[in-house]
């Protein structure tokens, strides 16, 4: 369960998050929608611990543990995963090497034994098959020369391998065609269950046709201004954010 209370944060002295209250119970998928500049990506970076995002007040706990006090890698070990809006390229670092290093780092943190190259390959191939990803993506440099869709699918593959308890998907649908969108949605839906929750950040209702959220929250000007069921997303699509703002 992710619990955020009164969270405020700033970048370079400019307040972006102005008091976020949000609860994502274990096993649920919530969507955050909102216009550009409302603080959606900032929220995802603050929760995952990126430098330059300064928390000025409030709290955020994952399964009762204060994540804001942790290093980014400790948050990852605690089960937090961020699917990046713009996945980063690591030239010369093989995707397989990267994925295995990450998986083993998390396994180490949990006190589990590390996977050797053969065990890892077997696991990775299974997961890739489920995501209809060509196997040569393992051999290529991390995100180097990947198309937009491949990068996003690579994020979902990482999620499928690392098995987080809480995933934040930051506009994972942007730049995806309908087939890629389905693959990404299938990847998320396959993870759904009692041990997994997700926060899906998106501009558009389209993704939510495939990943049907338990709750939808509207983030505007650094605050959650409205929450509701999946129907709220359709409402927004029809009437735009202005209607919410007017009501709020």
């Amino acid at each position: 369960m992710l619990r955020i209370e009164g969270l405020t944060a700033e970048i370079d002295g400019k307040e972006i998050l102005k008091g976020i209250d949000l609860e994502v119970p274990t096993g649920e998928v919530h969507a955050i929608m909102g216009p550009n500049g409302s603080g959606k990506s900032t929220l995802s970076y603050v929760l995952s611990g990126r430098e330059g995002y300064e928390v000025t007040g409030g709290s955020a706990t994952l399964n009762g543990v204060d994540v804001l006090a942790m290093e980014p890698e400790e948050r990852a070990a605690a089960g937090l995963f961020l699917a990046f809006q713009y996945p980063v390229e690591l030239p010369g670092v093989g995707n397989a090497t990267f994925l295995r290093t990450a998986l083993n780092a998390l396994r180490r943190a949990k006190g589990e034994s590390e996977l050797d190259a053969m065990q890892f390959l077997k696991l990775a191939r299974e997961r890739m098959k489920a995501l209809s990803m060509p196997e040569d993506m393992l051999k290529r440099g991390v995100n180097v020369g990947f198309s937009g869709g491949e990068k996003k699918r690579n994020e979902i593959l990482q999620m499928a391998l690392l098995q987080p308890s809480m995933a934040i998907l930051d506009e994972t649908d942007s730049g995806l065609d309908i087939d890629a969108l389905k693959i990404v949605a299938d990847g998320v839906n396959a993870m759904r269950g009692p041990g997994f929750s997700a926060l899906v950040i998106t501009h558009y209702q389209r993704l939510l046709d495939y990943i049907v959220p338990d709750r939808v929250h509207v983030l505007m000007q650094g605050r959650i201004v409205k929450s509701g069921g999946p129907e709220l997303a359709k409402e927004l699509e029809a009437q735009g954010y202005a209607s919410v703002q007017a009501a709020a």
């Binding site: 430098e51 330059g52 890698e73 290093t101």
Partner: protein
């Protein structure tokens, strides 16, 4: 911006290295008196029981050295070296033939253990009688010739190599046993008066390795030398000579560690390679000599002359180096491409951290027609490190259809370090093709964050990104060496975090 400052600070903190091989072995030494003069040259030659021609050869080198001046063109700074304030000969006192490792000086064994030399090879190195007849099973065997402060302690796998007619021994032994080969090739690639440091080496070299691969023989194992500098203020002057006869192949590994010191130590080695028709020599170096402490105190001065001559048609010489150590590195492994269709390669990774300085690169001399060379240089600078690539590609008038490709990439970590690229290209042949590419980049904050979000620590993230940056070079190393080199890259950029 706070984000940027914080990133630089954290990256700095992970790049402060601690030297893991800083140990000192306490073994009785036999020193030459301090200083350098003709008497010392004669002393060394006499100690090694050398023939007159070699003594004369050394004396000619010494005479040349006296007239020469230290080169000052490299982008490195260091206080003047007092060449009279060093011992030029130090040898561990030997007891003949121990029966088992129990009889071997325990200090020597400790040194081997810290270097990670397997037990069997330790026995061989320590000269235990009867050791070394059985090759290691299940993996590519490695023959080791350990140079322990100037005198080769022992050479392993000699018998197996002997069956193929391969000679792999210390150069002192080669002078005694194979004088005709030594006389024929010594100084033919790097002449005595080639440069200041090569002349010094020629005058006072104490030991080194000698390899001869006969016609048509593919050396069945990697040949390996561990260099160690161990005695306080002894300069180490290694001399290595490798000859690959027609149609032969050899892969030679040179690994280096040195104990921690607070005095600067001079190392001026000379390596000469000769490849005849259709022969290939692959020469790999992993160098992690003591780089000095975080303030830049101490550390090895590494002034090395390495050169290979592709004398024969279709011969090939490939240099691969991973340079993580030394306070100062001055090193330009080069190829003289005489034979038609001969090939020269240079793959290099050089890391400078703290106050390390590296001025390194290569020279490719294209003389024969259709000669080809490839240069891939990866420089990584962290802390206050200064890293210079200095290269020369010279294409002679007769090198019709010669080709060169050069790629120089620099990676900066922090904003106090420097990367410099100084490529010289001289082309006297219209049909030659020369390409040069260069890039400079930084480890970006978003790359580090991406890795850390996936559970990697800052150090693991830096290590992974640096290894990725060096991949093209690391893949040229023999398997076992590549693993070691990857660890070294990580260690030399490792710091106090975690």
């Amino acid at each position: 911006m706070p984000a940027v400052t914080e990133t630089i600070e954290t990256v700095q903190s992970v790049t402060e290295s601690t030297y893991k091989w800083g140990f000192e072995t306490d073994i009785e030494m036999e020193f030459a008196p301090k200083g350098l003069n003709e008497e010392i040259v004669r002393f060394i030659s006499a100690k090694k029981n050398e023939p007159d021609w070699l003594l004369e050869w050394r004396l000619r080198a010494f005479a040349a050295w006296k007239t020469m001046e230290e080169p000052r063109w490299a982008a490195v700074k260091y206080p003047p070296i007092d060449y009279q304030d060093a011992h030029y000969y130090a040898a561990p006192k030997t007891k003949p033939g121990p029966k088992s490792l129990d009889e071997v000086d325990p200090e020597l064994l400790k040194t081997y253990a810290k270097l990670g030399i397997p037990l069997r090879e330790q026995e061989i190195l320590a000269g235990v009688e009867g050791a070394g007849s059985v090759p290691a099973e299940g993996r590519m065997p490695v023959a080791v010739d350990a140079v322990f402060d100037s005198v080769s302690v022992a050479t392993s796998y000699k018998e197996r190599l002997g069956k193929e007619g391969i000679i792999f021994c210390s150069i002192s032994e080669a002078v005694q046993e194979h004088p005709e080969l030594v006389k024929k090739y010594l100084g033919t690639v790097v002449p005595q008066a080639d440069n200041f440091f090569a002349a010094l080496n020629s005058a006072v070299f104490t030991d080194g390795s000698f390899v001869y691969i006969p016609k048509g023989v593919r050396c069945p194992m990697e040949l390996s030398t561990y260099f160690r500098i161990n005695a306080k203020s002894t300069g180490q002057f290694e001399r290595t000579l490798i000859i690959a006869d027609e149609g032969s192949y050899v892969s030679y590994l040179e690994g280096c560690t040195a104990p921690m010191r607070d005095e600067n130590q001079l190392h001026a080695a000379v390596v000469e390679l000769v490849a005849l028709d259709d022969a290939t020599i692959k020469y790999s170096t992993v160098q992690n000599w003591y780089p000095g402490d975080a303030e830049g105190k101490g550390g090895i001065y590494n002034f090395v002359t390495k050169r290979g001559a592709c004398r024969g048609a279709r011969s090939k010489i490939s240099w691969t180096q991973v340079e993580t150590g030394s306070a100062i590195t001055w090193k330009y492994p080069s190829c003289i491409l005489q034979g038609e269709d001969s090939v020269g390669e240079f793959y290099s990774v050089a890391i400078t951290n703290n106050y390390q300085q590296a001025d390194t690169g290569t020279k490719m001399f294209h003389i024969g027609p259709r000669t080809k060379s490839t240069i891939v240089s990866k420089g990584i600078s962290a802390g206050h490190g200064q890293n210079t690539y200095r290269g020369l590609v010279r294409i002679g008038a007769k090198a019709k259809g010669a080709r060169n490709f050069t790629q120089c990439d620099s990676l900066l970590i922090g904003d106090l370090c420097g990367a410099h690229t100084v490529p010289y290209i001289e082309n006297r042949c219209v049909s030659a093709k020369v390409e040069h590419e260069a890039t400079t980049s930084r480890i970006a904050e978003d790359q580090l964050f991406y890795c850390r979000q996936r559970g990697l620590t800052q150090e693991e993230a830096v290590g992974l990104i640096v290894n990725g940056f060096c991949r093209e070079v690391l893949k040229e190393l023999p398997m076992e060496f590549a693993v070691e080199a990857q660890k070294l890259l990580q260690i030399s950029l490792e710091g106090s975090v975690g």
